[in-house]
Amino acid sequence: MTARRPMFGTTVPRGAAMIALTAVALLFAFPFYYIFVLGTWPGERVLELPPHLVFGNGLSANLEVLLERVPYFSSFLNSLGIALTQTVLSLFFCTMAGFAFAKYRFRFRKQLLGFVIATLAVPGFLNIVPFYKMMVAFGWINTWLPLVVPGMAGAFGIFLMTQFLAHGLPDELLDAGAIDGLGEFGLLIRVVFPLARPGMAILGIITFIGSWNSFTSALVFLPDLSKTTLPVVLAALNSRVDNNLGALMLGTALSLLPMMAIFLVFSRQIISGLTAGAVKG
């Protein structure tokens, strides 16, 4: 058996390595714990010495302030709506393009796929100024459109679905569908979409999380606080002097919950999906 050799010989105490890894893990987890702790302390008691390390009793009071004084709930719904819209659109267009790249032989296929991947290296800020002018001209400011339309056939998603469909969708099933009289579009709807579900789940989760966290684009294109997303509202709250700190901490903590819940369940798939390009590159 050619088992993997230990990377560390016995010279490095193994117990020490395990302790170090665990300590780093705790260090990484602590800020998450801390924000949830602070969210349960009443506004005037968030900042105290010594700093709070255990939960307080201000949860319901903070929640009340949060829902009353700031458009927290509406921005929560905005974030959710934008993230879901973007996810559905991405799944459709990226799976469609991935299907073409993975399962058809056509002229310039390689070059076109290479171009799609190369666009990932273009820095996002390069087009933001004229893009903003365009959005103003289109009348798209304070609408969801600038956040969901330009990226709905995103290069990353196309790459991911191409990878997935090339290995995960047997040609025989497509041939069988074709014999049953399905056209190319029929194959996409009836065969590819149902069978690409595992890959689409990964892309969907990654798209959702990315959209849920997106800040800069919402800051620029959704300046109206009642129409904008959760991160923008939190940032606005954060830079206000008169804010209720307990409510801000609770609002921040609650904004993390959906993302953390998804990640804890699907961490393996999310990590492999996100790093797919980097690891194979």
Binding site: F8, L21, L47, F101, P130, P150, N238, S267, T275
Partner: protein
């Protein structure tokens, strides 16, 4: 792979949305920003052709841009690049055979990467608070006077670097871990028979094999690091504060956003965008040259 039937148009139709969207929302505005950078172009009002005036202004007269680039380069070193010296050893340890629960460690280290930057900045602003923050409280236990992290030019950089390291180490660790797992075990057996110790083993086998991945991961760090905006924006309190005390948290991308969306000088902001782009290209060139000089990097 299937041969396209029909008239062979379908695959082109399937991939058309990407190219249409990229043309409209990518190529067009990027080209347009070259044009805008040559004009005195305000948020409203008439525009005036000034040639390379914006570039000259930004590079010679502007009181903020060069220091913003310097801030960004410092953060690139202490925030985005330093962490590769943490991520790689971490990956090597996690990859050891005796380590149980690899998936757990991957999950724990990766979680910050997918966390909203705004939430991260709000949490760390608390931890770094001068009077009530956990860090100063902990330092106080050793008799160290409170540090005004967020109101001190060096302090802001320390805080921002801490955020960047915390947020992205897991990402790099996972990339290195995957690369480590693709190195054939036989290679290690060969040098072990020569009696090589742990350190020599990694210098002789691991590092040369990982060089292409290191180049790639560092390239991503450079591209990302030169665009750092959200972390300093939230941590230093938005456009109004312009990066806090002495503008020491003002990064190049932050200044670009400020110039465009706070000062409303769109032409100048476009020029800034192109200058940052050139800096990224130059840094990646340096990265290439440096990697080529390392063992295993030239092939």
């Amino acid at each position: 792979m299937r041969v396209s039937r029909g008239k062979g148009r379908m695959p082109y139709l399937f991939i058309a949305p990407f190219f249409a969207l990229f043309a409209v929302f990518g190529v067009f505005p990027i080209g347009y920003s070259v044009l805008m950078s040559l004009f005195n172009w305000k948020m409203s009002g008439p525009v005036e052709f000034i040639g390379l005036g914006n570039y000259v202004n930004v590079l010679t007269v502007d009181p903020f841009f060069l220091s913003a680039v310097l801030n960004t380069l410092v953060l690139l070193l202490t925030g985005s690049l330093l962490q590769h010296f943490i991520a790689l050893p971490l990956a090597i340890v996690v990859n050891s055979r005796f380590v149980k629960g690899k998936e757990f460690f991957k999950t724990a280290y990766f979680l910050p990467y997918i966390t909203s930057t705004v939430a991260v900045a709000i949490i760390f602003a608390n931890l770094f608070d001068t009077n009530y923050g956990l860090f100063n409280w902990a330092l106080g236990a050793f008799g160290i006077e409170p540090v005004a992290w967020l109101a001190d030019p060096v302090g802001i950089k320390v805080a921002l670097s801490a955020v960047l390291n915390w947020k992205y180490v897991g990402w790099n660790m996972v990339i290195y871990l995957a690369a480590l797992q693709s190195i054939p075990a036989e290679l290690y057996e060969a040098v072990e028979m020569d009696g090589a110790g742990t350190i020599r083993k990694h210098l002789a086998i691991t590092l040369p094999h990982l060089m292409p991945v290191v180049f790639f991961a560092v390239s991503l760090s450079i591209i990302g690091g030169m665009q750092i905006f959200e972390e300093p924006f939230v941590l230093t309190g938005g456009y109004e504060n312009m990066g806090g005390e002495g503008n020491s948290g003002l990064t190049a991308a932050f200044y670009l956003m400020f110039t465009a969306f706070k000062a409303g000088r769109l032409g100048k902001a476009s020029a800034i965008a192109w200058i940052i782009f050139v800096v990224i290209l130059l840094l990646n060139r340096v990265n290439r040259l440096a990697t080529d000089r390392m063992p295993g990097g030239g092939d």
